[in-house]
């Protein structure tokens, strides 16, 4: 009997004193970082795709100079908000379909660095004004062709940067269609979305001109579809620049 009590009290001692309550000795990430990526010329948000377009890069400088970067993606319109950031001192930049904020010369020296260093505490806000590779704009509204059951989009693209190093050939323009508003290169319906490729400088010859692209096949009836045009230059990860999303109700 005495032994059992001894064992029991031993067990209780172990269970009661070990494993404390705290899981971590560091405050949980509770700070909020909001911001935007806007076109320096027009002041409008740089359109991108969700999940694989513009992303925010955070370097936490409080502990060392070469931290492992932390990334998160922006919204479709270039704005971003993350409510689970650790308190700290960050070097923040963004990557996407625009002239890079951090540029190197051929020997690796950083020649341009428009990153921003910020103490993130409470709610912090950071804005990036960038030069998109291309401005892609609607010309009028996309038109539903009742006979063929297709949609024709009119748009034009123009250079968003005057920097000749980033005025590259336009490789293709793409009319994206999706049943969801988050439409883009990573979320499109291949049956209807239509791509037009340009070889060499033939795309650059179309700068500023109105271009039409029509969806490929007969669209389903009695539904709401979302459309968007993207165009891109062959730079880096071949990001698309986009128009805003338009909704069309197919009768």
């Amino acid at each position: 009997m005495k032994k059992i009590i001894l064992y029991l009290s031993f067990c209780m001692l172990i269970a009661g004193s070990s494993s404390c309550k705290k899981y971590d000795n560091y405050p949980e990430p509770a700070e909020t970082l909001t911001g935007s990526v806007t076109d320096i010329a027009s002041g409008k948000g740089v359109q991108t795709e969700t999940g694989s377009g513009t992303r925010v890069k955070l370097l936490e400088l409080s502990w060392n100079d070469t931290p492992t970067p932390y990334y998160f993606y922006s919204e479709q319109d270039g704005s971003f908000k993350n409510t689970k950031i650790f308190k700290g001192n960050y070097k923040i930049s963004v990557e996407g379909p625009f002239v890079p904020l951090v540029q190197n010369n051929a020997s690796g020296t950083v020649t341009v660095d428009n990153s921003q260093v910020l103490n993130v505490a409470g709610t912090s806000h950071v804005d990036f004004k960038v030069e998109p590779f291309l401005n892609v704009e609607w010309v009028g509204e996309p038109v539903y062709n009742a006979m063929a059951g297709t949609v024709t989009a009119s748009f034009k693209f123009s250079r968003g940067t005057a920097n000749p190093a980033y005025q590259l050939d336009i490789t293709d323009a793409y009319l994206f269609e999706s049943p969801f508003p988050y439409v883009g290169n990573n979320n499109k319906d291949d049956r209807y979305s239509n791509q037009v490729s340009y070889s060499g400088a033939s795309g650059s010859a179309l700068l500023g001109q109105t271009i039409n692209i029509t969806t490929k096949d007969k669209l389903p009836a009695k539904t709401t579809l979302y459309f968007r045009v993207g165009a891109r230059v062959a730079y880096g990860l071949n990001y698309y620049n986009y128009t805003e999303v338009k909704q069309i109700i197919i009768p």
């Binding site: 060392n64 100079d65 070469t66 931290p67 492992t68 970067p69 190197n104 051929a106 020997s107 690796g108 020296t109 490789t171 293709d172 291949d190 049956r191 979305s193 791509q195 490729s197 096949d217 062959a234 730079y235 880096g236 990860l237 071949n238």
Partner: protein, 643 residues
């Protein structure tokens, strides 16, 4: 009395103990002297290293990695060479991204690099046991293995940490051991230096499966061609904090590397030759047979570096996974590799439209009627027949029957195309009978005979184990293996990792690039022309008339034809940096034969893959993702762009 006992005890303990060493090596672990004192021991050490060498052979797939038996998502189905039931999208190497996966390539490679470094460091201590020639040869061999491993790393990740010594922990501190990524250029230079050492020190011949001077030279021609292509075509650059270019090579280095590739390939001149044992001029049948035999003759003068298999000890399942459906073995696998029409259209010898696509319609847009499905290919390039089983061609004594369905409408006035050009929609069901799977219901033809709607090897509408592209693979399939033995882990044909044809293609490409950048001294254009024509002559293809006909596309196309289904093309398309342009929502083409019941003839429909399988190559994949676990281990390893 007691004191005497103590004295005796003391005497015994002091005088008799400690005579033997207690600090002895464990008897159950093989020690360095056991391995490094006889050539047999060295062979065993090398055998292990070779078995770990990253070769994309019969046991490799981008889904499951190296040395895996289950190759049902074949590499060739990533490049447009083939369509496969189990590979229905573009992707990077998938086995690589799982941080906990032991087969993650990064971790696997550094094990082998350590083994080679250890060998290089330890062998000199035992050099008294061997002749100088032996020591040189083996040191060269170890450096060849290290070069091959670093090349496999750099072609995936760009610059990686260079480790040329055996690292010891805890003797060395973590700070000492924490190695950052070297520049991509530095890794290629290490590969070149190791191979140069191997070329200088190794003997001229070796047993099959092991390296020698010329294997190293051939390998160098491959690796340096990669480096040159990266320098010339890569657009993605990544610097680390110390200004090392870990992704990308300065464009100014392109010619240096192309020249190194060219020079290395010249070393093999006269040492190897294209396989032509069964070849005869102007004899398509002989040229076809010769190209088939090329992959089975162990004494082929074309084989430079091979990986051997031997049933039942080391085996693979290439035949079981890839035979046409009607020759299916007991495991129920077949038809994993179905060459696309895009691949077939690279070849010549059958009617073509102006844009290079196969011509199966007449001037009025009606299908041409053929007596059988093979008619159109009757004078096709022999190499095509030897690489691909064309519908109706013979394999293992059987005619391989590939038919999509039976057209039951009237052929009078011509049959119009069933579905629009560039449409992926299914075939209409009016006037066409088809089969959902291999359990077919025969259709009664007008003459009273019964015929299954689909061929014995497909194509079925609901079962993918069939020739989904209208073709089946022939290259590397054992033509003599009885169907009862077509089983998983039962094949043992030799994998030819490097053959002389590749060296010729390497040289032609390097020469062309050097010529187009204006480098003189040698008549590079003439060299490229001669090399390509050698390949074409053996293949039974039309020869080029003049060196000025050469373009980079001619050379690349020749490479895709010659090296197809040898697990090389994906890397080529990557180093040329054209895969993201080729695969941008790409649907590959197929050729679907139909039997026209009323005419008793066949029609062939060229169309986009009815399964609507789309390939989009993400440009990030030019540099693969470094496994997250490796990034987490070291603050000096930076991730590749975009991940």
């Amino acid at each position: 009395m007691k004191s005497k006992l103590y004295i005796l005890f003391l005497a015994l303990t002091c005088l008799t103990s400690a005579c033997k060493k207690l600090d002895i090596a464990p008897k159950n672990v093989i020690q360095d002297p056991d391995v490094f004192s006889t050539p047999g021991g060295i062979d065993i050490y090398m055998a292990r290293s070779y078995s770990e060498l990253p070769i994309e052979d019969f046991r490799y797939s981008p889904e499951r990695g190296f040395n895996n038996f289950w190759i049902i998502s074949p590499f060739s189905a990533l490049t447009g060479e083939a369509l496969s039931r189990d590979q229905t999208r573009a992707m990077p190497e998938n086995f690589n991204t799982d941080p906990n996966n032991e087969s993650n390539f990064w971790a696997m490679s550094y094990k082998l690099i350590r083994e080679t470094n250890y060998f290089i460091e330890i062998l000199p201590k035992y050099s008294a046991n061997f002749t100088e020639a032996q020591v040189n040869n083996w040191t060269g061999e170890a450096r060849f293995l290290r070069a091959a491993t670093y090349f496999a790393l750099v072609k995936r990740y760009g610059g990686v940490p260079i480790v040329e010594k055996v690292l010891s922990y805890p003797e060395q501190t973590v700070e000492e051991l924490n190695t950052p990524r070297a520049s991509e250029e530095a890794v290629y230079d290490l590969v070149a230096a190791d191979l140069d050492f191997a070329i200088a020190k190794m003997s001229e011949s070796s047993v099959a499966g092991r390296a020698n001077k010329y294997v190293a030279a051939a390998f160098k021609s491959r690796a340096m061609l990669f480096a040159g292509s990266i320098a010339k075509y890569n657009k993605v650059n990544l610097f680390d904090g110390d200004k090392n270019l870990v992704c990308g090579i300065p464009a100014a280095k392109a010619n240096t590397y192309y020249k190194a590739s060219y020079d290395a390939s010249m070393l093999l001149d006269g040492k190897y030759s294209l396989y032509k044992k069964a070849w005869a001029a102007n004899d398509q049948e002989a040229q076809y047979q010769n190209f088939v035999n090329l992959f089975f003759d162990v004494a082929s003068p074309e084989n430079i570096f091979v990986k051997q298999y031997n049933y039942p000890n080391t085996v693979h399942g290439y035949d079981a996974y890839n035979v046409p459906r009607q020759l299916m073995g007991g495991n129920g696998y077949s038809s994993e590799l179905n060459p696309t029409l895009d691949y077939v259209e690279l070849f010549d010898g059958f009617p073509k439209n102006l844009d290079g696509t196969i011509k199966t319609l007449d001037a009025n847009g009606n299908y041409v009627l053929y007596n059988n499905t093979l008619d159109i290919f009757s004078s096709a390039e022999p190499r095509l027949r030897a690489t691909v089983i064309l519908p109706g061609d013979v394999m293992k004594g059987e005619s391989i029957e590939i038919r999509r369905g039976i057209y039951t409408g009237s052929p009078a006035g011509g049959i119009k195309k069933f579905v629009a050009e560039n449409s992926t929609s299914n075939y209409p069901t009016t006037n066409i009978v088809q089969s959902a799977n291999a359990n077919q219901t025969p259709y009664k033809l007008p003459n009273g005979q019964l015929m299954n709607p689909a061929g014995k090897s497909g194509v079925f509408t609901a079962e993918g184990t069939a020739a989904v592209s209208g073709f089946s693979i022939r290259k590397y399939l054992d033509p003599n293996m009885p169907t009862s033995e077509v089983l998983e882990n039962h094949s043992d044909q030799t994998w030819i990792e490097l053959r002389y044809a590749e060296v010729l293609l390497n040289r032609a490409e390097a020469a062309f690039e050097l010529n187009s950048s204006g480098l003189g001294g040698v008549n590079y254009q003439q060299q490229a022309f001669t090399d390509i024509n050698q390949i074409r002559e053996r293949a039974g293809a039309a020869l080029m008339g003049s060196p000025v006909d050469l373009t980079i596309d001619v050379i690349r196309k020749e490479r895709r034809k010659e090296m197809g289904f040898e697990n090389k093309i994906w890397w080529d398309l990557k180093r040329w940096r054209i895969l993201d342009k080729e695969q941008n929502g790409k649907i590959y083409r197929t050729l679907m034969p139909f039997y026209v019941a009323d005419a008793g003839k066949y029609i062939l429909d060229a169309r986009l893959d009815e399964r609507n399988v789309r390939y989009t190559f993400d440009p990030r994949w030019y540099y693969e993702q470094i496994p997250a676990g490796e990034i987490a281990k070291s603050n000096k390893i930076i991730q590749n762009p975009g991940y």
